[in-house]
Amino acid sequence: MAKAATTEHNVPSREALQGLDRATLLRLMHIMLLIRRFEEPCDKYYRAGKMGGYIHYYIGQEAVATGIIPLFQPGDLMITHYRDHGYALALGTDPKRVMAELFGRATGVAGGKGGSMHLVDVERGFLGGYGIVGGTIPLGVGAAFALKYQGKKNICASIFGDGSMQQGVVHESMNMAGLYKVPCLFVLENNGYAMGTAVARHSAQTDFVKRVTAGYNIKGESVDGMDVLAVRAATNRILAQMRETGEPYFLEARTYRYAGHGYADNAQQQKFYRTEAEIDKWRKRDPIEHFREQLLAAGVTTEAELNAMDEECKAIVADAIEFADTSPFPSPDSLYEHVYTDM
């Protein structure tokens, strides 16, 4: 994937669909469909006790990861918050091993030690998903610092939610990123809520681009997080610039999560902070539906081909579940493994 990305990179994004070739367009659709189909069955297995802990769905936000990740080049790094399924899948991490991690099995990407919140794929530059709100932002700046230190032209993408904008360490880290000029792409997935708290109820400043650009001398902009091509176009331009200057950048993607914050945030709970009408309003801008229409309108593909792709994604997920469910649990001894590298 990363290889391909380097070539697309040269495709001029002038005309409709930004002149992206068919293969690329279909891959973007494939990624978004895979993410959605991957998460849809999870509730069922969670209820059945196959999964536990906290599980946070990405459904509704697919266009963000999908618009960004395929533009990675070899050596680029990424770190995310706990809402990380979409990023691992967009990166090409084996769905089997992702599902196995959610099932807590030895075959999972973290050997069952992490679970949904803590996916990882070192091979592809994914330094992991972590659970402390805002806690990964300094880590991402540090990884970007390492890239600069090593004289690499790569970047580190740091993904987080609007709630983390109120964490002190985020302020400290952005100031350091602006001060040391390290190639960290801050990606704020503004889905309107930090759990049950709307942005305006947790932030004195709801214009985050203004807060960051004025606060830390970091360039920034906002993009429609429901439009995969818009996210991709912005990211394409930003990454080219970052690889050139090595400087940080702040990208806010305005998006929305359809499901509750986590499994426990059921329909009943959600009534405390949002309406069905609001959810429907956003569903009308569904990133997959929207992109589907674009592709069909432009004659890039057909209903039949897209349905086949959908079936294929469902099959991949079915296999992943089968794989996960038949995988062994970690051995009892593994409890004591990897606390230290050497003891």
């Binding site: 919140m117 659970g131 109120q166 002190g168 759990m195 708290t197 947790h202 606390v339």
Partner: protein
């Protein structure tokens, strides 16, 4: 007396104290409009919404250090705040405010400024929350002069100890256990009912071995004690410390002087944990009464893993207590 859940008992304690004293207010993440992440504060925002500019039950941003500092400052200026941490694992972010400010200000000002604040919320392990969300770290707080550390194990204590905490003029670390929220029990409705700090409870009388614990682990000790009685005829005395700071050593030593054997049990990492302090004090206070080394039971020295079987192995259970008791009487 009324039967209610541990979570309801906490809510009742806060509501009663807020009705009793207009200076008591509650803030934290999702405590108001969302009715509390674990529903502990359900209905409280409505109950007090028209008072003090709507500040009595207040939602906050995800800013643990800021929250801890805000309530500490409010306490310095005369209020009696209750701050809820969504979990104690997140309180690590607020430690400078709690330990370097709230806990020390009375002393630094030579007694001129008191900080009557309660820091509360769920702590402990369980539910596959994995490494970053499964901590309580009570040993850290009990290490710090100026703090009081409270961990209720029953609904009645949840109410009585929280009321005492809210009325206390010092910063109180009040650790609830998520695994106890739905536990039911008899709770006195009398608004004057409180449970004093520094008085341990003997939850079960016994003569062979003293099991000393607190919070969720008390229940583990009780079921282990019952099993040991049924299956081995061993009579265990189970002591619930209730508060680690102040610590009621009298009750503990009295029990050990009777049983001559002690098993100390906690859920968290045993290494440099509270049970180590407890064991040391028992040795110092009852050295000649002990017929065997004290058995310390605590979590294995590993971050909490996600996978269910691994997590189960990482949380001290009935079997761990039972084998410790058997070693103690061997």
């Amino acid at each position: 007396m009324a039967t209610m859940r541990y979570a309801e008992a906490l809510r009742l304690a806060m509501t009663e104290e807020m009705e009793r004293d207009p200076n008591v207010f509650l803030c934290g993440e999702e405590v108001a409009q969302y009715q509390g992440t674990f529903r502990v504060t359900e209905g409280m925002a409505d109950r007090f919404k028209d008072e003090n500019h709507g500040l009595r039950v207040l939602d906050t941003p995800i800013s643990e250090a800021g929250i801890a500092g805000l309530v500490t400052g409010a306490a310095m200026a005369g209020l009696r705040p209750i701050a809820e941490f969504m979990t104690w694992s997140f309180a690590i972010l607020a430690l400078d405010q709690i330990v370097n400010h709230a806990a020390k200000i009375l002393y630094m000002t030579n007694g001129q400024i008191k900080v009557p604040v309660v820091f509360r919320g769920p702590a402990g392990t369980g539910n596959q929350l994995s490494a970053q969300h499964s901590q309580s770290l009570e040993a850290w707080y009990a290490h710090v002069p100026g703090l009081k550390v409270v961990l209720p194990s029953t609904p009645a204590d949840a109410k009585g100890l929280l009321k005492t905490a809210i009325r206390d003029d010092n910063p109180v670390i009040f650790m609830e256990h998520a695994g106890l929220y739905s536990q039911r029990g008899e709770v006195p409705e009398d608004p004057n009912f409180t449970v004093p700090f520094g008085v341990a409870a003997v939850r079960r009388e016994g003569k062979d071995v003293s099991l000393i614990s607190y919070s969720h682990a008390v229940g583990v000790c009780l079921s282990a004690a019952e099993k040991l009685w049924q299956e081995a005829g061993l009579s265990c005395e189970v002591i619930d410390l209730r508060t680690l700071l102040p610590l009621d050593m009298d009750t503990v030593l009295r029990s050990v002087q009777k049983t001559h054997r002690a098993v100390v049990v906690q859920e968290e990492w045993k290494n440099v944990g509270f049970v180590s302090e407890l064991a040391s004090r028992i040795y110092e206070g009852a050295f000649d009464d002990l017929d065997a080394p004290i058995e310390r039971v605590g979590g294995p020295f590993v971050p909490m893993p996600y996978s269910k079987p691994l997590e189960r192995a990482a949380i001290p259970g009935e079997e761990d207590v039972i084998s410790a008791v058997k070693r103690a009487v061997a």
